[in-house]
């Protein structure tokens, strides 16, 4: 009976993709835009040349890092919406470390490595705060995390306009860019740093192994499925939840550090670029099949990068990518609901 179940699952996914495209097409028609031309622009803008593909990979790196972290918190049944703030704090810590290294005249390699480590620590600490608020303060991680996201943004702005402001007057363009030797080396003539790719793949590999092949992963999933039952069976739930927050925050922080050391070379106001929220959607879609995550993240990153063409060529807003991504997740959820209804089985996982 296994085979038909898988087939119907894949078939329903295809239906979901079709419905999401239909919905987005209707939105395009309403706004008076030529749908096929819009899709073509997204395709050309993301996969049209080697250069474009490397641009997609530049977005893929932080997205994969953030999503890897979110797979851990999801496994523990936690909605770590605070991931955006954790990316931001990673960027702040990395910037701080680079500034210190610049003042001290540290050699480039240890300075950059130190910045990435600092970023991981920064993200992990910010996540720990959300975790402590949840575990010991009874504050739902969704609201604690959201609040902390706003605080992280204001912290960034304060640094950019205050202590770390550019010589003269601070501006929304961010802090003074670091000299070239303090950035992760990029491919000649491209924005993509192979080191970023290495960090992302490494991060994903570690998390994949952790969730699929260790007792920690198994116990965490038990906590996520039924925290009370896991606790009664002797799993220290509090410690597992906090560990999940720390891991997720660390990976988010790494994403922020990469944004500073490899992409922007400075701290900018919206350094997290929404990759945390996007990662939540990717993690939701992957739903306990983490092997598919890198591919799906590539698709989402391609939509983001491809849609940058839209305002330039068709005078449309680039938020179309978000509409398509959201519609995709919604229809996949809908099809999942339909499938469960057909089988009359209770929802697996249930409420987060």
């Amino acid at each position: 009976m296994k085979a038909p179940r898988a087939v119907s699952g894949a078939g329903l996914r295809l239906v979901a993709v079709g419905l999401a495209l239909l919905f987005t097409t209707i939105v395009l028609v309403i706004s008076g835009a030529p749908p096929l031309e819009a899709y073509r622009q997204i395709l050309v803008g993301s996969l049209g040349s080697f250069k474009k593909v490397t641009d997609v990979l530049v977005a893929w790196v932080p997205l994969v890092l953030a999503t890897s972290g979110l797979l851990v918190t999801f496994a523990g049944g936690l909605w770590n919406i605070g991931i955006e703030g954790q990316i931001t704090l990673g960027a702040i810590f990395a910037t701080g470390a680079l500034r210190a290294a610049l003042d001290a005249g540290t050699a480039p390699a240890p300075a950059i490595a130190g910045a990435v480590v600092a970023g991981i620590v920064g993200g992990a600490l910010w996540a720990l705060l959300a975790g402590l608020l949840k575990v010991y303060g009874g504050v739902n991680e969704i609201f604690g995390g959201l609040g902390l996201n706003f605080v992280a943004v204001s912290l960034t702005l304060w640094l950019i306009f205050g202590p770390w402001k550019r010589p003269g007057v601070g501006s929304m363009s961010g802090t003074e860019p670091f000299p070239d030797f303090l950035s992760l080396p990029a491919l000649e003539g491209y924005r993509l740093s192979p080191w970023g790719l290495v960090v992302a793949i490494l991060g994903f590999a570690v998390i994949f192994f952790l969730l699929q092949g260790t007792t920690f992963g198994l116990r965490l999933k038990a906590v996520g499925k039924n925290a009370r039952a896991a606790f009664l069976l002797g799993v220290p739930t509090t410690r597992h939840m906090l560990a999940a927050f720390l891991l997720c925050g660390g990976l988010g922080g790494a994403a922020g550090a990469i944004q500073v050391t490899a992409v922007y070379h400075r701290l900018i106001p919206s350094i997290s670029s929404g990759y945390g929220y996007l990662g939540l959607m990717v993690a939701m879609l992957v739903n306990f099949q983490p092997l598919w995550m890198p591919l799906l993240a590539f698709f989402f990153a391609a939509l983001n990068i491809g849609s940058i063409q839209l305002p330039i060529v068709l005078r449309l807003d680039s938020s179309l990518a978000g509409v398509l991504q959201g519609a995709l997740v919604l229809f996949v959820l809908a099809m999942e609901g339909v499938r469960q209804r057909w089988r009359r089985t209770p929802a697996p996982g249930g409420e987060a």
Binding site: Y136, G137, S154, L157, G170, Y277, G326, R341
Partner: protein, 332 residues
């Protein structure tokens, strides 16, 4: 600051809180029924954009407000359909809708960016507006702000003083018991999700046609308000009056940030603008911490006099969510 300027400032706070009051009241009704509608942030943006677009195209403010409520009701219907009929996670659906509706508003609202549109005129109430202090504070507002004042008490009375309100509370607390008493749980939940959504939707035009008239896309300054409204719903302990108090407190703090700006030129304005957020976390901590186990354990170890005092303070702050909030109900 002169007394008159202070009065005008505070009257502005009451008006600015209006949209948040609508959103928090709507979400309170929805959550009282046991459903979490997490889409509020996206709903407000989409309804703000749609109602502005309709008001600009038709020149009718009334149509604009209706559109806002309709958009809110429709998004809520999607949440209800997914969570009640298809039994998917309310949090997942709400979160995706929060993001998607935001992007949808930016995409579809692109042609309306920066257009000048109609704005709800202020409507001083003859006689009442001349009462010292209260007149300028309460009775020189626009129609929508008056509506926000009235709705606070209407919602409170509906929930706590009527029979339908009792049914509402019962489906949020003990749906199985309500079902046995002949209440159609899932139908009632759908109804209150949609009704609450319509109120949340009213917050959109309350911004785009009144408090922050116009549509400016990503720089409209509305992104984030919906999340605040959700936090205020919790802070309000699912009580309309307490939720409204939270909305006014938030608007007051934002106004205070602007006022302090003048006397603290060294602090960047962006920092003071977000000052309410950490305070909101603190508030959530205060209303929730009394529910945690370790607090009870710690308290038990304290001498009686101290324990009773702390316990009383915590109990007065504590807010208990509806027992079946977020839990789907299986109707046999």
């Amino acid at each position: 600051m002169t007394g008159e300027a202070l009065l005008i400032g505070l009257a502005g706070v009451l008006a600015a809180a209006g949209p948040i009051v609508f959103a928090a009241l709507g979400e309170t009704l929805t959550e009282r029924a046991g459903v979490i509608n997490l889409s509020v942030n996206g709903t407000i943006l989409l309804s703000a954009m749609a109602s502005f677009a309709v008001a600009v195209s038709t020149g009718s403010l009334a149509l604009g407000f209706l559109t806002g409520m309709l958009v809110g009701a429709l998004v809520a219907l999607v949440v209800a359909g997914f969570s009640i009929s298809l039994r998917q996670s309310q949090v997942a659906v709400g979160f995706v809708l929060a993001l998607m509706c935001r992007d949808l508003s930016y995409f579809l609202g692109n042609p309306y960016m920066g257009l000048s549109g109609p704005r709800l005129p202020s409507l001083a109430i003859p006689g009442l507006q001349d009462i010292p202090i209260l007149g300028p504070l309460l009775f020189r507002q626009d129609l929508l702000t008056y509506l926000s004042f009235v709705l606070i008490f209407v919602t409170w009375a509906w929930v706590f003083r009527t029979r339908p309100g009792l049914s509402l509370i019962s489906v949020g607390e003990r749906p199985a018991a309500a079902y046995v008493r002949g209440i159609r749980v899932n139908r009632l939940r759908t109804l209150y999700t949609v009704l609450g959504g319509a109120l949340v939707g009213l917050a959109g035009p309350a911004f785009s046609l009144s408090v922050k008239a116009g549509w400016k896309g990503t720089i409209s300054g509305l992104d984030g308000i919906g999340w605040i409204a959700l936090a205020i719903t919790i802070f309000g302990g699912w009580n309309p009056i307490r939720a409204a108090f939270g909305a006014y407190l938030f608007a007051f703090l934002q106004w205070l940030g602007l006022v302090l700006q003048a006397s603290l030129p060294d602090v960047p304005s962006q920092v003071l603008q977000v000052a309410p957020f950490p305070l909101m976390i603190l508030a959530l901590l205060l209303v929730n911490i009394g529910n945690t186990e370790w607090i009870e354990r710690t308290l038990a170890a304290l001498p009686d006099s101290t324990r009773l005092l702390i316990a009383r303070v915590l109990r007065s702050l504590r807010a208990q969510p509806p027992a079946s909030l977020g839990v789907p109900f299986e109707q046999e």
